[in-house]
Amino acid sequence: MIDDFDKLSVTELRLRGMTSDQILAEQKRRGMSKQQIDAAWFPKPPTYNRIRSRRFRRSLVVATYCGWLLAAVVIRLVTPAGQTFPLIPFVPLANSVALLLWFARKTYLSREVLSGDSGLDERLVQNRNHAFRRSFQVFVPAALTGWVASLVCIWVQPGIEGFNNAVLIFLGATLLGTTLPTVIWAWREPDPVDSN
C-alpha cells in the first residue's frame, strides 16, 4: 500500500498504479465520510483572487466599451458608400479574442459563466446571481431598443446602408449580452483584501 495515501490526489494515486476500485476500497477502509470521498474524487477547482483594485476594473470596463464604440464608428467611417463592411467578419473575431482574454484571467470574476457554482462560496454565488439578474434587466431593454432601431435603419435607409447599420446594432447587442454579467460583477466587487 502507498504510505502517503492521505496526501495524494486520486490522479496521483492512479499514476502510482492503484485502480479506481482499490482507491475507493482503501478510502472506505480508512473510514472516510461520503463528503470526504466526494471531495477527493471531485476536488473543487481553485478560485483565483487576482481581481485587482475596483478602480482598475472600472477603468478596464470603460476602456473596453469605449474601444468597441470607437471601433464601430471607425468601421462606419472607413466603409465606402454602397458597400458592406469589409471588417464585419473581424468584429466577432476581435470580440472572441477579447472574451478569451477575460476568461484567461481565471479569476472568479471571469470564471462564473463557465464554472457554475464550483469554486464559489456563498458570497460569490450571491454576487454572480445578482450580476446575471442585473444584466438581464439592462440587456432586455437594450436589445429591444436595438431591435426597433435596426428595423428603423432598414426601413429609413433601404439597401446596403440600412443593412450595415442594422448589423452594427446587432453586433453591439451581442457584445453587450456576452459581457454584461462579468462587467457588472467586476464593477461592483469591492477592493480586494490581503490574504494575510
Binding site: T47, N49, I51, D121, E122, R123, V193, S195, N196
Partner: protein
C-alpha cells in the same frame, strides 16, 4: 435597510494567529469573503455564521451581534470580578 451585523472575526482570527487564507481554507470560503466579513461589507448566511462560531468554538452571540461589542478584555475582567 437592515441594521448591520457586527462580528469579532478579525479579533478572533488575529488572536489565534491565523491568516485570512488559513481561516478561509478551514471554512471552505474565499479569503476575500473573510476580508469582507471582517470589514462588515458582507453579512454571512446563518449556516456560515454557525460554521464560523463552531470553528472558533464559541457561541454564536460571542462572534456576531447587532450591537457594538465591548472589548473582550473588559468583558473577561468584569466576569472575574463578579465571580
Amino acid at each position: 435597510m437592515a441594521p448591520p451585523i457586527l462580528n469579532r472575526i478579525a479579533v478572533l482570527r488575529t488572536e489565534r494567529g491565523l491568516t485570512r487564507q488559513q481561516l478561509a481554507d478551514a471554512l471552505e470560503i474565499n479569503y476575500q469573503t473573510v476580508g469582507y466579513l471582517e470589514r462588515g461589507d458582507y453579512n454571512p448566511s446563518l449556516e456560515l455564521a454557525f460554521r464560523i462560531a463552531e470553528y472558533f468554538e464559541l457561541p454564536l452571540e460571542a462572534v456576531f451581534s447587532r450591537r457594538p461589542f465591548a472589548p473582550m478584555s473588559s468583558q473577561l475582567y468584569r466576569k472575574e470580578e463578579s465571580a
